[in-house]
């Protein structure tokens, strides 16, 4: 059944209620998760949460970042369930998987430089953190450069249908992680201090993840995708969802007392704005080549896209190595290793975009 839409929205091609609802709910749930117990300004952050999972399963040894975040499990399983119900579950893959692994890796390296993925960047901005402005500019610049290459024909290759089992692997991994969260086997670590020890109750986090995963599977919500579509084809449909997400998050932040406008006294931030710009430039550039932001990769992996599954594994590898190789920034600022990794990553993206023309 088609829902009636106001005439204003009819003027914007492709816009539907699902993206409007997704945007608003995404904004509100992210803020409410902080109220429920998640770290400040970190209602949802793919890079932080992946770092928590990587630490918990023993891939890095930072004792402050070890917790299997149920939100991530929820995103994947929500997308998986809804795609099965809506017959959208179509396992496919084979489009430059190794390159996608590296690009997934680089999106997290860029995010670790800024301390947050594109989604968290918007939450930080919505909570009044003005240090996020440099990162927003960097993300837009990165997407813009990526789109320039897309216009010139840069492309990672076609996806082909694959054996159905391929598409089930990442959702099954999510189920396995859920089992670990519930049963807490001895080989799973859990932070007793630091951000890894600060979390919303399990079932609230999981429910939030499932709702958002399902909704955004239908609406195709994506931070990078919305900017890309707007720059590439002046398509505002996804961008409206993004703007509504920011507006909803600002309103929710104000109502819950989380809004604090300023450059200083902001949780999980640093004042190296140039490096924040460069970090998000890398994330934006790599995400455009990948076809979506880190959040979108999780959703696509949930609906059976094995290329996004490989990118997700790259993100997990990066989430471990940003700690083991000291690439991640802290409140003291970026590290030397992180700066080198971001610059190297940007060079890689340029070379890849230049050499992957059709």
């Amino acid at each position: 059944m088609k829902l009636p839409t106001p005439k204003f929205f009819d003027k914007i091609p492709g816009l539907n209620w699902s993206i409007i609802i997704s945007g608003i709910i995404f904004g509100v749930i992210g803020v409410l998760l902080v109220t429920a117990g998640n770290p400040k300004h970190t209602g949802i952050c793919i890079s932080c949460f992946m770092e928590g999972i990587a630490g918990s399963i023993g891939l890095h040894n930072n004792p402050r970042m070890m917790y299997i975040r149920p939100e991530i499990i929820g995103f994947i399983l929500g997308a998986f369930i809804i795609s099965l119900l809506s017959k959208d579950f179509r396992p496919s893959g084979g489009s430059s998987p190794v390159i996608r692994f590296v690009l997934g890796f680089l999106t997290i390296v860029g995010s670790a430089m800024f301390i947050g993925c594109p989604v968290k960047m918007l939450y930080r901005f919505s909570a009044g953190d003005l240090t996020a402005l440099a990162a927003i500019a960097g993300l837009i610049a990165g997407v813009w450069v990526g789109v320039l290459f897309m216009r010139e024909g840069s492309y990672l290759g076609d996806e082909n249908p694959v054996n159905k089992l391929n598409g089930w692997i990442i959702p099954l991994c999510a189920v396995l992680l859920l089992v670990f969260v519930v049963l807490k086997p001895s080989f799973i670590s859990q932070s007793t201090r630091g951000p890894g020890a600060v979390f919303a109750p399990l079932w609230i986090s999981l429910a939030a993840g499932l709702i958002l995963g399902g909704l955004t599977q239908r609406s195709r919500f994506c931070v990078v995708g919305s900017l890309r579509n707007f720059i590439l084809a002046n398509d505002k449909s996804l961008l409206i969802g993004l703007i509504l997400m920011i507006v909803a998050a600002i309103v929710a932040s104000v109502l819950t007392g989380q809004f604090h406008l300023g450059m200083y006294d902001q949780p999980g931030s640093h004042l190296s704005h140039g490096w924040s710009f460069m970090g998000m430039f890398l994330t934006g550039f790599a995400s455009v080549i990948l076809g979506g932001c880190p959040y979108r990769q999780l959703i696509l992996a949930g609906e059976g896209n094995t290329d996004s599954g490989v990118a997700t594994l790259g993100m997990l590898a990066a989430a471990a190595l940003v700690h083991d190789w000291a690439l991640a920034s802290s409140t003291a600022g970026p590290t030397f290793n992180g700066k080198i990794a971001v610059l190297g990553g940007i060079a890689f993206c340029f070379i890849l975009a230049m050499t992957s023309r059709e």
């Binding site: 400040k40 300004h41 004792p63 949780p267 999980g268 004042l271 991640a328 802290s330 700066k339 230049m354």
Partner: protein, 188 residues
Amino acid sequence: MLGKLDFLWDSWLDKASCVAVMVIFVTIGVMLYTHQPEVSANTTTDRSSANINNRFILKRSPAVEKALAQTAKLYEAKKYNETIALAGKILQMDKKEPFAYLYLARAYRKQGNLAQGVANYSQAIKLHPDFVDKRSEDFLGRNKKELKPYVDRAITISRRKEFRSKPNYKKILKHIYYLQRRMAGGCE
């Protein structure tokens, strides 16, 4: 001569990208050449130990290693004057020992000398950013309540006109803002 690589010069985008890549490589080269690693740290797999020194193996002389262990004992025994004296001696032996600065920071803070505490902590971060800032609990958690009034007062004072003319104004302000961000929490 470029042969198959001729396509790299097809458009302005390719030319700009080649220049960008070259600039990046030169920048990386300069950064690597000018960078002097402060300490070389190798992580161990020991995650259970409560002793911060056990988690990292730093290239230390046996004398520094012994003195550091002694400093830790003095600090735990709440002998803060002795801790400060011994940490100072360690820095005479090795001025790049981050844990000596860390113990100085802790001891000064316990004595109520927040300015020295933060200054020494900042030095420790500079020398060992991966460990000190992300993994230590200084200026976080339970310390937060104790320190917040001091930091709020420091912020108020820093806004006064007469303070701006002081030497090292910017450096002090940087320390205060850092402390403020760290105490604000968040996920990092």
